[in-house]
Amino acid sequence: MGDRIGRVCVIGAGVMGAGIAAQVANAGVPVLLLDVAGEGPDRSAIAREAVARMVKAEPAPFMSKQAAGLVEIGNIEDDLTKVALCDWIVEAVVERLDVKQSLYARLETVRRPGSAISSNTSTIPLAKLVEGRSEAFVADFLITHFFNPPRYMRLLEVVSGPKTRPEVAAKVEAFADRAMGKRIVHAKDRPGFIANRIGTYWIQVAVNAAMDLGLTVEEADAIGGRPMGVPKTGIFGLIDLVGLDLMPLLQKSLGSSLAPDDPFHASLRTLQLVEKMIAEGHIGRKGKGGFYRINREKGGVREVIDLVTGEYRPEIKSVPPKGDLAALVATKGKIGEFAWGLLGRTLGYAAALVPEVAEDIVAIDDAMKLGYNWKFGPFELIDQLGTANFVRRLEQEGSAVPALLKLAGERSLYRVENGRRQYFGLDGEYHDIVRSEGVLLLEDIKLGSQPLLKNGSAALWNIGDGVTALEFTGKMNALDSDVMELIAKAIPLVQRHHKALIIYSDARNFSAGANLGFALFAVNIAAWGEIEKLVAAGQQAYKALKYAPFPVVAAPAGMALGGGCEILLHADAVQAHAETYIGLVETGVGLIPAWGGCGEMIDRWTHSGRLPKGPMPSVARIFEIVGTATVSKSAAEARDYLFLRDRDGITMNRDRLLADAKAKALSLAEGYVPPEASQYRLPGASGRVALRFAAERFHRLGLATDYDLIVSDTLAELLSGGSADLLDDVSEAELLALERQGFMARIRDGRSQVRIEHMLETGKPLRN
């Protein structure tokens, strides 16, 4: 077996091992999951239960039912010889050197020479792991450190030892990158590698500072959360998520292997409050709550621990301070002191770790962004504060100034030069950030070019080789009349000068759908004509994309909801990121899909061959999918609903999505012929009655509200073709007219308007 990984073994079916196995399976690759042999009759019970747990878990480790079927389970006693069939063996057993070493000794006797072996250790140095192993084993060994949960966290820290064969590391990295969707960050063989080394320190500093300054948990999380680009869970919320009980273990393990003068030690404190919480079982979300808890006895009220008294009290919402980061750290009083205390130490610590833990600042920024979900890496944050300002303040307070920052002086750590982003290196020079082959990001293209078209909600870019990319730019990439206008302008432009169009955005979410804020505004001033115009404009724009004389490829990632889903349905092909959540969710706000989505779904289901013949099966299936606002939990699952078709592709690595979409577009461009207009054979009034019966059954069970019945009847009327007769074809134009008519009936209804308002205010559907 050469450089291809066609079969993987994961040893250790704990949370990490099982999750890694699931992600291998998500890539469509068979995986053997082993754990120690159980005492009972089922000797593989541990691995079996791990898979069973994952099938039910939320958020789901598996992307599809089929993926779960790719995991073969076993135990180390009976099945270890099966690793001979595996190209990569991932060890994810308990974090104990003796256990790992004795497992490796056994693996050495059964594995196939040349197969890669990696450890998911988070703290043990590689050099210690391979003590006593043969040269061949050492040459095939490396550390692959995944983050929890392995499906959703994009970071993979890879540590190669001095004797690791480069081709083995390359094989594993290529698989982890392309098949498992991870961004590889090369770390040095130092305790905690990059992300946990900095992350643990950051958490300790934050807890210490909050206590020293007398801040509440909410205040600390409000300052240390969003203003610094940290997920809104904040720092205390993150500890709850990880588990308070794990923190001392991580601290101890890291602390014992770091140099005595490492600032990490100074940040370590024994906190009586935390010890008390652990003793009482308040270890976080997996226990009885942590710094935050939901008090069910008091009707689900959120409570927070008082850092002084150690007692729970109702949460007091704290508003994050406004303004930029420089202003935040300059704020007088506790807020500014906390912000600086946290950033000064954490960023200073990170800067001092180059080159100890990584060759350059890009690796560290990537690790924190992908491993801890920070919006900005430590060095990007220093740039926001200004390198010189940051250094000056460190000097003022008598803190050590890291060599890298001294060297930078007045210079920023990143810059854009000749359309390329560069980073500041330890040699005092700037270097281009080089993307891996096959990685294409719109943000890079934007640095060196101007948009072909642009307005308030969308832009069109030339991404080379005759391919253009249409980007949504509004809040949540919401769709409005500007988007439709830009599509209308883009089509003749692309037709004249280019070969293909991709619909894509670097943003976390492709599009959450139509701009409801605009819709509600128009409702409030009774601008019904404007609303209907927007509906019609959307229909025209989407159909124009469908029938354009060049291929259109949609490349979604994250949420593609409502109108964001309908645009996918009109594309010639979709290249979706694996983590794409697709759905026609209009009924949640009392509306129905009206940008051509229903017709496209009928077309797909009617010709899918998955259902019995006749006018009802496809209509009934779509009624169920759309009527319950079903959203796929992955791109793979989107195929079950035919939001994606077999011809559509799935890209595991987010960074490779645009390049893959571009390749797909170019493959379609040669000899491209636009599709023929659809005709539908629909059941008419009889079908509408049948669908109503189905909805009424839900209603009787209390699963649908009175107004849900009315919304679903509007949907039923549309899907059944209005007054269509079984013997007649319904044209696309007739169906679009029904969509508009149904949509307008619903949006004029006060109960839909209340739903829209509620969605805008809370982000959640109202069940009225």
């Binding site: 006749g614 009889s686 019966f693 069970l701």
Partner: protein, 378 residues
Amino acid sequence: MRNVVVAGYVRSPFHFAGKGDLARLRPDDLAAQVVRGLIERTGVTPQHIEDLIVGCAFPEGEQGLNVARLIGLLSDLPLSVGGMTVNRFCGSSMSAIHIAAGQIRMGAGDAFICAGVESMSRVPMMGFNPLPNPELAGKNGGAYMSMGETAENVASRYQVTREAQEAFALASQKKAAAARAAGRFSDEIIAIRTKKGVVSEDGTLRPDTTAEGLAALKPAFDKEGSVTAGTSSPLTDGASAVLVTSEDYARENGLEIFARIVGISIAGCAPDIMGIGPVPASKKALDRARVPISALDVVELNEAFASQAIACARELGLKEGTVNIDGGAIAIGHPLGATGARIVGKAAALLKREGGRYALATQCIGGGQGIATVLERA
């Protein structure tokens, strides 16, 4: 007048639709094996059979076309034997028996195989393309009402409490479990070959059912209602077959006579309380046979739902201990088209086994009907 007798009864094991052992077997193949089994068990001469009449409630897909003829061909009946599919929903295969009985009296044949089949796994209730008449749906909501809703209507109109339904369901489960444990189903069950092996036992029984378990179930059809999955018959795959002949033919050919058919009837009722259909139908059939209710020793009253079975038993004044001696559809299952032949065959077999004189088999039918058959020990 020529007497008509039941001269044989068999059925397949019954299994849950979707997840049971018969889910992947075509219904025509299933029924053909049961027909073959009936011929083998009874020893009837196939050439003597006039017609194969098959009841089926949703005769489409794999149980579509004229599935009776196809079952005849699949089971290698002589080409001279006819084939007719009958649809009266749950009453389909009991109607098959009534048709045969009438023809025998007419002198239009001596021996009939009356079978029933339903794969609720492979053909959904309502069929693949439900297309209700919009005007009728508006005029008479009961016409297309779901069966669960009618069961709720019967429960409230006849004041059948949830507790009573659960006690009834529990008793059905216990009776069926005891019957199986005592080997009392072995005479009627034909082992069925499937791709995954031979299936020879019911998969539907839940002998471990408890009152507490039933009480914990959520309502299945109406959040304010009293009917649960535990007090309803399950969606089931299964087939059944009864040999119906003239009494003279049976005697001349040495067939085992189970019982004489002495009264039959069909009766309509309001669709929204279809579960009460057995009441008018049974009264009519018993009147025609001149058999008082008090004379019944064996009653097979189909348990579509506990609520309707209880209401019917109360309205008819059925004697305690005579009803569904080996358990009913709540435990055994209710493959729609197959149930009528099962309960007629079962009532006849019980009459023979238990040694009584008169038996009644009756059931309710979606859309608002009841059907009944009165048997006398021959």
